[in-house]
Symmetry: C2
Subunit: 461 residues, 2 copies
């Protein structure tokens, strides 16, 4: 064997939290890591070396309040989850072609949180793998390739999902909208086509659903039918969108009437984050039941594990293609025991009640700030999924992108990790670990108050 | 919150190796797990509850010699790997938008095993994610969608990869070959179009590469150009194929002349399995350098971690699309320290030397069996990647599928886990953990001897 390269041959170790100085980390990253992979705070990125609960720590042991990592769902490095995974790591980690109890017990348990029809589980590694599999299944079930998605949606990084993610394909180098993709209006009652203030007393859910119906009719006039409608139950990248009542009920009706099926993407918002329910689609009513639900990010509290949950009937169509589905790491005993441990913590620590209570408290605090700060156009959310919409004018609802950008870096100075998103990047986006407390909420509200006062005092804003 | 389902609410735990009786595991699997997910030994599946090194154990503590799990590359539950992951699990597991030393040290270290040009790393969760990203990058770099793959190839389970996997799309319900996919001959000198015995003294590598050239010329005559050529460096699902010398060198030349780039899929065969080199493409010569290499299965010894390695130039084209690449779990500190620990073990335990030595010993033992058993048509392999091709006649090389099927279940009775593959499923396929020993090889050889004697004595064969 010839050593082909003369580069240093350093090892990574978990024995030390910091192994090389920060500046070297930055330069190695520039040298060896794909430049399409972006850092938070590009010009002065954070080096995080440990985390616990809702707090992250940099190499100087400075503590940051984490408002953004929904993956660390039950809190960073939760002992119960870590222990479950670590014990299993020492015993067995292999593929799902062997029988294992962790896999079947997790599948059983997951289905227990869904309406009865949703009783069949596929275990995969990531939200992208889950959404791609959901598409494959929908296409097999319906014999159609056509997909209806929402504007600004993002469903994952693999080819088939970039194709149904306007958030990506509408970028200048994003390749544009493929022929088989049909983009519906995002049901945003604050800044979308149909706004609450212009349509008081109207059923905006129905109105936005009519748009899906129109798309289907156009498709049909071209001799096509939809394979599926896919939407995040609460759209995240589009700016923390809460669809109006009746939206999914009406959309699902139109899609099914045309022979398509309905996919709820719960990769960002599932597992009790909304507080009142395990799954955000349930906010739309007990009778609203998707044909496929995809799960991801929070499922393993950081471990790569995700799932597709569907009906026996739809799963059977996929089986009938005769093409077996094998996912090397999907459903391994480690990922399954970790996902089950995450569900333990959600139940044992009553994190859904907590998400509901703290989420309500946080929203109330933010809404009170609205009295003082006209720059806050809207505060919306469910449980610990909250958006703060910054505007130049409450009348026009013109997005205040610059203020959001400024707020973000000021939050960071105040040791609070915040994100922004939406088509105009003017929406401050909160989706903290569910251990987030009322004290944490108070801190966010008072720091935001301070930041908005500063912004208000600046001539340039 | 309403409990939507009345199912039992059992937890999974790693505290017990077996939590429910085997029959219940089977019935829960039938009830709740997607029926497209197949078990080994469908009619009487194995329940594996623990594993160590090259051995797996069922619920009765019966030991099986593992010849098939290339994912458990350095041995099941290797203490060094488990410890590295477990320590990191307790400290931090978050996404790559924060700086972390484990990520950059792994990227640096990975590139040190490649030719100098291959200096840019993307970290992802699975071989499927890696191959999909490789396609996205190749398409961005070349502005073309056309892909040349090999017959019988399998590159992963997501939509874009099923489209370039004849192993899947040629199944009755597999959807057929898409327009942008161009299938080249598999460079199989034993059963392919050009066979060693019919073309003695000829350069079969060049001959098989001519086929790729023909495909490119046809493509060009239709006004198209290839985005990429993708092939496993040693084709696995096609039946443990070792391409003849000069094959990749010639193919790469043709593809590059036409403006395409070259992807080596090392998901199955990488990380030193071939013994003489870290990567199987290196078997074709020092001057043979792909533009993109994809890594997967063995990389995390069971943990979902994979990678794309490419040149700065190709990575730059992808960056220039302006579409950022974010993979939620990809490159997290846990996966990176685990991958680094796997590389530690490969080096510290000299597993490449071992793969070379034991692989040679195993192949010699199997080749000796050929003197006695005409049913063995061919024994081929590199290191601990070995195929045993069972035939009805050495003259015609007609595959003996039934014998392979029988051998597999007899191996199982003898407590040896073996697989079969290839278009005719007549090739016994070995890719054991690299801790596989000469004693293990002796056992496989003597059990195979016994099984083939039995088969020989059966009238029906």
């Amino acid at each position: 064997m010839k050593e082909v390269n003369e580069k240093p041959h350093r090892r990574a170790t978990s024995a030390k939290q910091e192994q090389i100085p920060r500046q070297e980390t930055i330069s190695l990253r520039q040298k060896y890591v794909g430049p399409s992979c972006k850092l938070f705070f590009t010009s002065d990125p954070l080096k995080i070396v440990r985390a616990k609960g809702q707090y992250m720590y940099n190499e100087k042991s400075e503590e940051y309040l984490d408002c953004i990592n929904n993956v660390a769902h039950v809190g960073h490095c939760h002992e119960h989850v870590v222990t479950a995974g670590n014990n299993q790591n020492a015993i067995l980690n292999t593929n799902n072609r062997f029988l294992h109890d962790n896999l079947v017990l997790l599948a059983e348990r997951l289905t227990s949180t869904f309406p009865q029809e949703l009783n069949t589980v596929f275990l995969v590694n990531s939200g992208s793998e889950a959404n791609d599999l959901a598409l494959r299944i929908a296409r097999a079930h319906t014999g159609s390739r056509e997909v209806i998605c929402q504007d600004h949606a993002y469903h994952g990084h693999v080819t088939s999902l970039i194709e149904i993610s306007p958030y990506k394909f509408n970028l200048p180098g994003g390749g544009g909208c493929p022929e088989h993709t049909h983009v519906a209006l995002v049901p945003d009652v604050y800044r979308g086509k149909y706004r609450d203030k212009d349509h008081q007393g109207e059923d905006l859910g129905q109105k936005y659903a009519e748009n899906v119906k129109d798309i289907i009719e156009k498709m049909q006039s071209e001799g096509k039918k939809p394979s599926c409608f896919i939407a995040e139950s609460l759209q995240s990248c589009g700016g923390q969108i809460i669809p109006p009542p009746n939206y999914l009920r009406e959309v699902y009706k139109h899609v099914r009437n045309a022979g398509g099926i309905c996919i709820a993407d719960e990769v960002q918002v599932g597992f009790g984050r909304v507080g009142t329910h395990w799954w955000a689609f349930q906010l739309q009513g007990e009778d609203v039941v998707p044909d496929i639900v995809t799960l991801g990010k929070p499922m393993g509290n950081g471990f790569p594990v995700s799932a597709v949950v569907t009906t026996a009937d739809v799963a059977d169509s996929f089986k009938k293609t005769g093409v077996a589905y094998f996912n090397t790491f999907g459903g391994n005993p480690v990922s399954c025991v970790i996902a089950s441990a995450v569900m333990d913590v959600i139940e044992d620590e009553k994190l859904m009640d907590r998400a509901k209570e703290v989420g309500f408290y946080l929203k109330s605090g933010l809404q009170q700030l609205m009295e003082k700060h006209p720059i806050i156009g809207d505060v919306r959310g469910e449980g610990l999924f909250v958006g703060i919409d910054l505007v130049k004018s409450r009348e026009t609802r013109e997005p205040h992108t610059k203020a959001a950008e400024h707020a973000l870096s000021r939050f960071r100075e105040e040791k609070i990790l915040m994100q922004r998103d939406g088509p105009f990047e003017n929406i401050l986006k909160m989706k903290p670990p569910l251990q987030f407390s009322k004290e944490n909420a108070d801190r966010v509200v008072s720091v935001l108050d301070l930041i908005l006062e500063e912004i208000c005092a600046l001539d340039s804003y």
